[in-house]
């Protein structure tokens, strides 16, 4: 594994391998010095062409806990806004001595392109490319789910954490704007590969063309899906503000009424159904406070696990450790 560009091409063994390393990484927080020296002297560059404070901070924390140096590059206010090409930007940063590039970009395929053009020769980690993929988000979601379904704390150090397993048989619903969601795409591939039974719930306007060929079950009606299926987890997606006035649905009120996880819907869920959200949440729109703040909500566990999972990815790619389960 040289790069982490997507989950579509990530094998089950590699995915479980990363989740298992992440289990080890959670134990670092128990140490007196909450750092591992494994990437000392290495430089990780966060190359963010799109604003994303949360993801950038998570990667930064992960790299620092592995003792790597971190350079943050934000396209805003840089030469990119003055028309510098992707090639020049990446080669300039590479010349400063990057050992890995974490890239967030508004266009699908940009991470893939950086990994395959020959402009640079270091591991590339996709931190979100357009509406294509966001593989570390899916890995942290899978990690959180695996913990929660094993009946152990969903985040934090757990000595006997659930290692070596997938998500076989878990029924997971992803609800909302699937069409524009890189989180949904990465999760569909990864969760299905880990054995989960993935359901998508959305208005037809927010589902991609040809979704019937995906390894998922599709529901248009949220209530009917909740009546007929017993979900282990319901993952709510953020609806971007710019979608709200493009006729994907009539208005916010109707969307919230039909596809939001309202307090009423939340109360009807079985007691064992976990609530997930990749953040940031639109409270009162796609998710109610009752759901977001309930003990079954894993939202903050997802954030915490994000650091461990990103540590695992950096460790895996930068130390060239090849552990295979197959």
């Amino acid at each position: 594994m040289k790069h982490l560009l997507d989950t579509a091409s990530l094998s089950r063994a590699d995915a479980i391998g990363i989740l298992d390393i992440a289990e080890e990484m959670t134990l670092v927080s128990e140490r007196e010095v909450k750092k591992l020296p494994v990437l000392r002297g290495r430089t990780v560059v966060n190359l963010f062409f799109e604003d994303s404070t949360r993801t950038r901070l998570s990667f930064e924390a992960a790299a620092k806990r592995l003792s790597a140096d971190v350079l943050n590059f934000s396209a805003k206010g840089s030469s990119v806004s003055k028309g510098e090409s992707l090639q020049d930007t990446i080669q300039t940063i590479s010349a400063m001595g990057a050992d890995a590039i974490v890239v967030r970009h508004g266009g699908a395929g940009t991470a893939h392109r950086l990994a395959h053009t020959g402009w640079i020769d270091v591991p590339v980690i996709n931190a979100g490319d357009g509406t294509h993929e966001h593989p570390t988000q899916a890995l942290l979601d899978a990690f959180t789910l695996r913990r929660a379904l094993a009946g152990v704390p969903a985040s934090g150090p757990v000595a006997g954490g659930p290692r070596g397993r997938g998500l076989d048989g878990a029924k997971v619903a992803i609800v909302g704007d699937i069409l524009h969601s890189r989180v949904a795409r990465s999760n569909v591939h990864l969760l299905a590969r880990l054995g989960a039974d993935v359901h998508l719930i959305a208005p037809p306007t927010l589902l991609p063309w040809g979704v019937e060929h995906w390894p998922v079950t599709v529901h248009f009606d949220f209530d009917e899906a909740l009546r007929s299926e017993d979900f282990a987890a319901v993952m709510m997606l953020r609806v971007q503000h710019e979608r709200m006035h493009e006729s994907f649905f009539p208005n916010e009120r109707e969307y919230a009424r039909l596809w939001g996880l309202s307090a009423a819907r939340f109360e009807k869920l079985p007691a064992h159904t976990f609530i997930m959200h990749p953040g940031p949440m639109n409270r009162g729109f796609e998710i109610s406070a009752a759901a977001a703040d309930s003990p079954r909500a894993l939202v903050l566990d997802q954030v915490e696990n994000g650091v461990s999972v990103r540590m695992a990815v950096l460790y895996r790619l930068l130390t060239g450790q090849e552990e295979t389960n197959d």
């Binding site: 090409s85 090639q87 699908a108 395959h116 063309w209 060929h213």
Partner: protein
């Protein structure tokens, strides 16, 4: 001018004969017997009338770093084209007599192929008001085909008016069929691949809905309509239906839409980014069948050179377009291999029919007395496509490394051998006065 005796060529792939060229015309071989013509040994080669491209972008004026009329003309000659139609989306736009005459003059000065400017339908390609179509038709460039190619004439009333107006001089409107609202931000074909890659889709219906509208308009006003780069199976069905009703519609397909599919976008390599986008295998098969059965009339290259800066970038920032004049014939031969499609058919779709549609009277025929626009093809010369060796400035050829069989060896342009044994030679010696217009 040198006289030539082309010996032993398989004419249109339908029988060996000699072709004699004297003073820029095809003549009876007996006539040159006494004049010591230069002998061209064409044993094993196929002779076709010089190719006619209804759809190319020569980029001059305005984008000379991507292509010039000269570099594009040399590329045309290397690809066997003796006549090319240069699209109007230059800077300034070819929407006045002045600009089309400039392109026309540059083509004559280059002297490697006949450059026929295409006029814009609307001023500045803005889709708001008709350009001076009559002035362009009456200019020295004698424009007959008009197109806003790259942009659809989406306003139905404006399209109707344009179709009607060009009847004045038997003109034709070539439509780039793309419903703009259905393709906002589009990056590739809308289908299972775009769904997975998360790239905004360009649905087939955006092309087909415009074609449906325009064939009905053309029928209603009794005008000639040409559909540029048809790319979907549904477009083929609509064109077939329109022809069955007697609508004066003709249609074009590009070599790349006959050969490549949207699966290639998985590489995120912008060399595969083009408009209309690469479609599915089912579309490719339908387009091949339509070309074989005559539903689609012509192959047009949509040769669209771009500089490296506009192609060596991330997918979403890259320009749309592929070059193709130098590989068109080889690709068409490969694409149509499974069909009942011989070199006579190649000559029909790449020379005779486009010449007829555009009124390019000096092209499309190998008959005695015709202008000597001739191409010789080696049908059995397996080689790999090497874009870096091409005459075009554009390196954005999607067929890089593909092995093909047919190779163009010679191009005779109004009697002058502009391509000899695979190498470009000199411009036509008559300067700007070679044609019989």
């Amino acid at each position: 001018m040198t006289d030539y005796l082309i010996r032993g060529a398989d004419v249109l792939g339908r029988g060996v004969a000699d072709i004699a060229v004297c003073e820029g015309r095809i003549v009876d071989p007996e006539l040159v017997a006494g004049s010591d013509p230069e002998i061209v040994d064409a044993a094993g080669l196929v002779a076709l009338p010089g190719l006619v491209d209804m759809h190319t972008h020569l980029r001059e004026p305005g984008k000379e770093d991507a292509e010039t009329v000269l570099s594009g003309s040399r590329s045309a000659a290397a690809g066997g084209y003796t006549c090319v139609h240069a699209m109007a989306n230059t800077a300034p736009v070819a929407d006045t007599a002045g600009v089309v005459e400039q392109v026309h003059r540059l083509g004559r000065a280059a002297g490697f192929t006949e450059v026929v400017p295409v006029g814009a339908v609307t001023t500045g390609l803005e889709g708001k008001q008709l350009a001076e179509l009559g002035a362009m038709a009456r200019s020295e460039a004698r424009v007959r085909m008009f197109s806003d190619d790259g942009i659809c004439v989406s306003d139905p009333l404006l399209m109707r008016r344009a179709l009607e107006y060009v009847k004045t001089f038997d003109g034709i409107i070539a439509q780039h069929a793309q419903e703009p609202r259905l393709t906002e931000g589009a990056q590739m074909n809308e289908g299972t691949v775009s769904a997975e890659l998360g790239l905004p889709g360009w649905p087939a219906v955006a092309e087909e809905s415009i074609i449906a509208r325009d064939v009905l308009l053309a029928e209603h006003v009794g005008s000639r309509l040409h559909i540029c780069h048809a790319s979907t199976a549904g477009s083929v069905d609509l064109i077939r239906w329109a022809k069955s009703r007697g609508v004066a519609v003709t249609a074009e397909v590009t070599p790349h839409h006959l050969m490549l599919t949207d699966e290639l976008v998985r590489s995120f390599d912008p060399v595969f980014k083009v408009n209309p986008p690469l479609r599915t295998d089912a579309d490719v098969q339908a387009l091949r069948e339509a070309l074989a059965d005559g539903t689609i009339d012509v192959v047009g290259t949509d040769h669209a050179p771009h500089t490296a800066e506009h192609k060596c970038s991330e997918w979403t920032a890259a320009a749309m377009g592929m070059v193709g004049m130098e590989t068109a014939l080889s690709i068409v031969v490969e694409a149509m291999r499974e069909h009942d499609f011989d070199f006579g058919d190649v000559a029909r779709v790449m020379s005779a029919t486009p010449a007829r549609i555009t009124g390019a009277s000096g092209h499309g025929s190998l008959a005695i007395g015709a202008s000597a626009n001739i191409v010789l093809v080696d049908p059995d010369a397996p080689h790999r496509i090497e874009p870096s060796a091409h005459a075009t400035k554009g390196r954005n050829n999607p067929f890089d490394g593909l092995e093909v069989r047919a190779r163009i060896t010679d191009t005779f342009f109004y009697g002058h051998r502009v391509l000899a044994a695979g190498a470009l030679t000199t411009p036509h010696p008559a300067g700007a006065t070679w044609t019989d217009q």
